[in-house]
Amino acid sequence: MDSKNPIESSPSIEITLNSSSRRSNSSSHSKASRGNSVREVTFGDLGSKPVRYGSRGADSEGFSGSQKEISDEDARLVYVNDPEKTNERFEFSGNSIRTGKYSILSFVPRNLFEQFHRVAYIYFLIIAVLNQLPQLAVFGRGVSILPLSFVLLVTAVKDAYEDWRRHRSDRIENNRLTWVLVNDQFQQKKWKDIRVGEIIKIHTNETLPCDMVLLSTSDSTGVAYVQTINLDGESNLKTRYAKQETLSKTPEKEKIRVLIKCEKPNRNIYGFHANMDMDGKRLSLGSSNIVLRGCELKNTAWAIGVAVYCGRETKVMLNSSGAPSKRSRLETRMNFEIIILSFFLISLCTIVSICAAVWLRRHRHDLNTIPFYRKKNFNDEDKDDYNYYGWGLEIFFTFLMSVIVFQIMIPISLYISMELVRVGQAYFMIRDTLMYDEASNSAFQCRALNINEDLGQIKFVFSDKTGTLTENKMEFQCASIWGVDYSGGKDSSVNEQVGHFVQVDGKILRPKMKVRIDPELLQLSRSGNNTEEAKRVHDFFLALAACNTIVPIAFDDASNPTVKLMDYQGESPDEQALAYAAAAYGFMLIERTSGHIVIDIQGERQRFNVLGLHEFDSDRKRMSVILGCPDKTVKVFVKGADTTMFSVIDRSLNMDIIRATEAHLHNYSSLGLRTLVIGMRELSDSEFEQWHSSFEAASTSLIGRAAMLRKVANTVEKSLRILGASAIEDKLQQGVPEAIESLRTAGIKVWVLTGDKQETAISIGYSSKLLTSKMTQIIINSNSKESSRKSLEDALRMSKKLITVSGTTHNNGGNSGGAVSPVALIIDGTSLVYILDSELEEQLFKLASKCSVVLCCRVAPLQKAGIVMLVKNRTSDMTLSIGDGANDVSMIQKADVGVGISGKEGRQAVMASDFAMGQFRFLVPLLLVHGHWNYQRMGCMILYNFYRNAVFVLVLFWYVLFTCFTLTTAINEWSSMLYSIIYTSLPTIVVGILDKDLSRRTLLKYPQLYGAEHRQESYNSKLFWLTMIDTLWQSVVIYFIPHLAYWGSTIDAPSIGDLWTLAVVILVNLHLAMDVIRWSWITHVAIWGSIVATFICVIVLDAVPTLVGYWAIFDIAKEGSFWLCLLAIVVAALLPRFVVKVLYQHFSPSDIQITREAEKFGSRREFGAVEIEMNPILEPSRR
């Protein structure tokens, strides 16, 4: 530490930034101050052993905690530029990746193994195996394995196709080229041939082939910019560093003897921990020194690094996990009904076996000789019984055989149909142009495929605020400086001023974003440093320009060659907004290198040395930067949330200004603006010295570094002079108020859970129409358990009173809004700390369920999940969480349906979600339209599938009763297997994908229709039992009409079997046709086509001479009675259903029914109005 005054040596001070690593699932702080990032400060010139400095967030402490030895067992040793030695002991995986699951050889066994994880397939298998036993062989060998092999084949083909696509993309990926150092010169090499330890050179805009530690870059300070969009979706550039020591080496020329000892491959993309032994020195490497596979090198001519993790051991590959799997509510219900069906199946089998037992008992003396039984084998010498195992066993076998014959009572094909239908529905959701977001170029994504129909039954929506309700696009609106409010810009019409610009190399440099300008403030900022007022303004904007972690990048304007645009890359939109604002007022940040920043102040370039930076943390809720100014003074600039800033501002000074600022802050936040307070102070030399040494000590410490840094920060962030406050508008996303209104009308409760402060939350609540002036607000802010309990009790009492009062007014006023009572609950995170996970939860839930709106502010991510669980555990209602940030991940995963907004905040929310989309307002079409359709379709489909299988089984059953209970099937065994595969499967799938009960427009016009799903109108146990009764009737008709018509005639079994087959198929298809609402050509093809296909199949089967029923269909079809039977069956079977349907529709029409009629016959006038009304949702481009 020989340098007394670091300012003097500032040109060589290395300040390195790293803005990547703050994001993790648990990062909880509000975005108001995000982007205050990690820094690593290296005093390279001090000659001391370089160490890592900087304060890092608590989340990464574990990784950066230090230099402690990585034990040899846990380490991977990488000899730089010596892949042979590196891979000598352990064969590290090569860089070829394989996302394909199967190879040609392993496909069959592995795929089969995976498929048999499903219970349904095992059921199939058991039945097929049972049928192979000679005693039980009901069907022929080939026939019995047909259904199983069919579904296995279909699934296998699908899997194979997917795998082929993966293999193809793997092949492309593996064959990409990169430059690798071989024999002291860089040669092109395929990605798949890269090995750990090799030195790789990457040029600008190239993608990293593996995880590598940076050795040197084209930048003299060793900086490399990378874009990590493929990793975390963040489009801003991140900085990575090569170590100072390796920078100077040129691997082509000199032999590098470096050993990197790093941790074993893991999934943490924000952490890396390694040591580098070089020339006897030991350096530590952190996450700022590694660039990961999948990133792209930007703004850097080249970078050289050494591969440390390759192929499947790279972090990105380790992170590629499957979509979450949830099971839909409907399916859970359905499984219950399937159990009922199994009991039904068992009882059918029992009836058959009991009857068979009685028959055998009664004829026991005749069995030997009855020509159609012939128990005794007279042709054998010893006259054994032929195929007879005793009374008991015969009955047992009869039972098992009847299980085999009636197997399709359990609709296994339903599971496959459901999957196909869901794929189809997902396809339509993805393809919906109304759910495509122009701004982010993102279409709707279906990540989970088994909960489509749950979208139709949502009762609670939990929404994040920032980025979800709002755009997370910050706009600087007004400022309060030195007690004066400058918000003129807000009122003045959009100021078409050119904006501030700077001349650089004969080109005009201009900020990319325009900001509204307050003319008075602009005047002041230009007036220089003369007056006290102007000086404050100067300091204020200097703070805005400097107190951040923005990286300015200039690029050519495509439209105007003389203009360069300045783009501020930073993690926090707030900081960007502030930096743009500063630029607009003439304080343009134009350069940030390691160690200093250059700010163009009113046309004059000034260079500031960045001496230190205390990053944001959620305790302090502020950040500070220590600047060495050109006038040799050292200043601390602090910006942060008002709550913590006022405690570090010297209240003895300028009391009136503090008061005025507080008043302004209150104003701003009630307008829904996000506020930050800015303060500063000058540091004396001694103070600086003191800070500097303690900062260094803290950042070198091995244990508890974060806490120590926090302490150091607190010593310098004190007795600040207030400069003022900034207000940033977080713009509401388009269509949010309308969307919330629609959801509320649909009977969905919208809860907003935000990390923002109460005032901001409430104001956003108002602007998004979540809160209305009619509502009574109950606000709970408590900071102890006792007071929480008390306020909850008070609130409950109050809400009861309100509800009774509003209940009466409701009755008198005839409010048709449908809202029960306009009570809004606003509760903050601190209160929730005491309430969640305690006995108070119950009370909170009671209270919340009485309120029409619940707003939770200042909540941590885990609390968000806690609130979701609060509702989920206590009701059977479906919950949906929607959010965009990492802090929403926990609640997205906890809710029944998780929706991620693919916005600016990276992809973690999307990765955790079941569905992802671009805008909050798409929730309306998603739930009200697609959710409605999906639910209706799926409900109908399940009931229909139950029916169609049961009716067939019952027909078989009736026949069995007339064959001495011996499980003969008149219906051809092939037909009975093809029944659920070919004859009837396609129409239900097509209808399940394509049928629409109501048009999109109607559904959006009457959100109340969503209530039909809340009432479970299309699938409930009443419907189930009704369907089953209908099934029974239909089967009786199908069986007994031919039975009576052909009793005592020459009819042979295959002929009447064909009649039954055709009758069943025509009937089930017409039954479905009766429920179809929209007949498009595809529906026509599917339904009539299935009937035709059945005829063809029956004819083909009857043209095979080795089958018993050879030519049967041609023979029976010659007679008139065949056709008469078909007609009579169809009409008689469908009659009750038709009558009930008509009566039901006439006397108690459902909402859906009425709107459907209105859709067809309703007046034009009514629907003309809809289009205008629904514009915000229907036509997103209109603004």
């Binding site: 999948g294 020509p371 339509f428 993805i430 018509a1045 001479p1105 009629e1157 209105a1158």
Partner: protein
């Protein structure tokens, strides 16, 4: 690498799209993810949306009634026009001495099985008059029975040894039986001879089986071997010098009946039978229906377009037609006296609530 996320419509185990997905070649191209508009993807295909309007409902009931009633009448009429003579002879053809021991009588090969019956023709029977035998309570659809045959063996000589399904009538002394199986073994073997006014009435036994059976199912090179050679004789025997393709009685028998009461064609009488003619039938009562308590009947019948005599279809049609007529009338009444305007928004549940609360 694609610059945005690849849409994933995979079903299970889909890996996250982390950029190593497909179309990585087209990375440089700015690709919009905007779904292309088409009426199909927007689920907006032109479609017909039928609604059960009162008119449609009444029309459909009426149509059914209008179609069914005449059809029912026609088929009843057709069925009534069929002239049928049914004579149960199994009991009466047991001589009084054996009336309590029918089994003993029928199994005794020495007893005289001839039995004469007189049938009176009630109405003119136009030729062809079909002669059937009808068996009751004979389960030709019994699972053991149905499966005890070998269609391959019947078809060609090459499959002579294909008797695995034929137990217990598969082998005699280790040699295959042709035709094997219980079905063939239990071949019906009563015979009938008809006389009208002491003049023999020709019964044509040609073409009583399906042509398809003769041509394809029963081979012309397959001759009966070892048939009825076992220790228990089930029924008729076959002339081993005639190929199966010409054994029409066997073919008819082997078309196993669907139900336990069935008729099988015996032959055709190709002359008209005048009303009140007395037909004398000489029955060779060989077939043992006594062992299982079955009945045997001789049936002479004419046919019409709906087949033989069966009133049940006609009755069903008239019943359904009548019911539909009734429904049509009652729905007219319902729609007249309790009408509901279609698509009236005031019936919507939320509007109903509002009106209730405002009252």
């Amino acid at each position: 690498m694609p610059d945005t996320v690849v849409i994933d419509i995979r079903m299970r185990g889909a890996k996250s799209s982390n950029g190593v997905d497909d179309d990585s070649v087209s990375s440089s191209k700015k690709n919009s993810h905007k779904p292309k508009y088409s009426r199909f993807t927007q689920q907006d295909l032109p479609a017909c949306k039928p609604i059960l309007t009162p008119g449609l409902v009444i029309a459909s009931f009426t149509t059914v009634a209008v179609v069914f009633l005449p059809l029912g009448l026609a088929s009843l009429f057709a069925s009534e026009s069929v002239v049928e003579i049914v004579d149960r002879y199994d009991k009466d053809c047991i001589p009084g001495t054996h009336s309590n021991l029918p089994l003993e009588y029928i199994q005794n090969s020495k007893s005289n099985k001839i039995c004469t019956r007189n049938l009176i023709v009630p109405k003119l029977m136009k030729s062809p008059v079909y002669v059937y035998y009808q068996l009751d309570n004979f389960y030709q659809n019994h699972r053991r029975y149905v499966r005890s045959r070998s269609d391959k063996q019947l078809q060609s000589k090459a499959s002579e040894n294909d008797v695995s399904n034929c137990k217990p009538e598969d082998l005699v002394d280790g040699k295959p039986i042709v035709p094997c199986g219980l079905v063939a073994w239990s071949l019906f073997n009563d015979t009938y001879n008809f006389k009208v006014e002491n003049k023999a009435l020709e019964v044509n036994k040609k073409d009583i089986a399906w042509r398809s059976d003769k041509e394809r199912k029963f081979g012309s090179d397959v001759y009966p071997i070892n048939f009825q050679a076992g220790s228990l004789i089930g029924g008729g025997s076959l002339n081993s010098s005639i190929p199966l393709s010409e054994q029409e009685d066997l073919m008819v028998w082997m078309r196993t009946a669907a139900l336990s009461t069935f008729r099988k064609l015996y032959g055709r009488i190709e002359t008209d039978l005048q009303a009140n003619d007395v037909i004398e039938v000489q029955i060779q009562n060989n077939y043992n229906s006594y062992g299982y308590g079955g009945k045997k009947r001789l049936v002479l019948s004419t046919t019409t377009w709906i087949g033989g005599k069966n009133n049940s279809l006609g009755i069903a049609y008239i019943f359904i037609g009548g019911l539909n007529l009734l429904l049509a009338i009652s729905f007219i009444l319902i729609f007249v006296f309790k009408p509901r305007p279609l698509g009236d928004p005031s019936y919507l549940s939320w509007n109903k609530q509002a009106t209730i609360s405002s009252n």
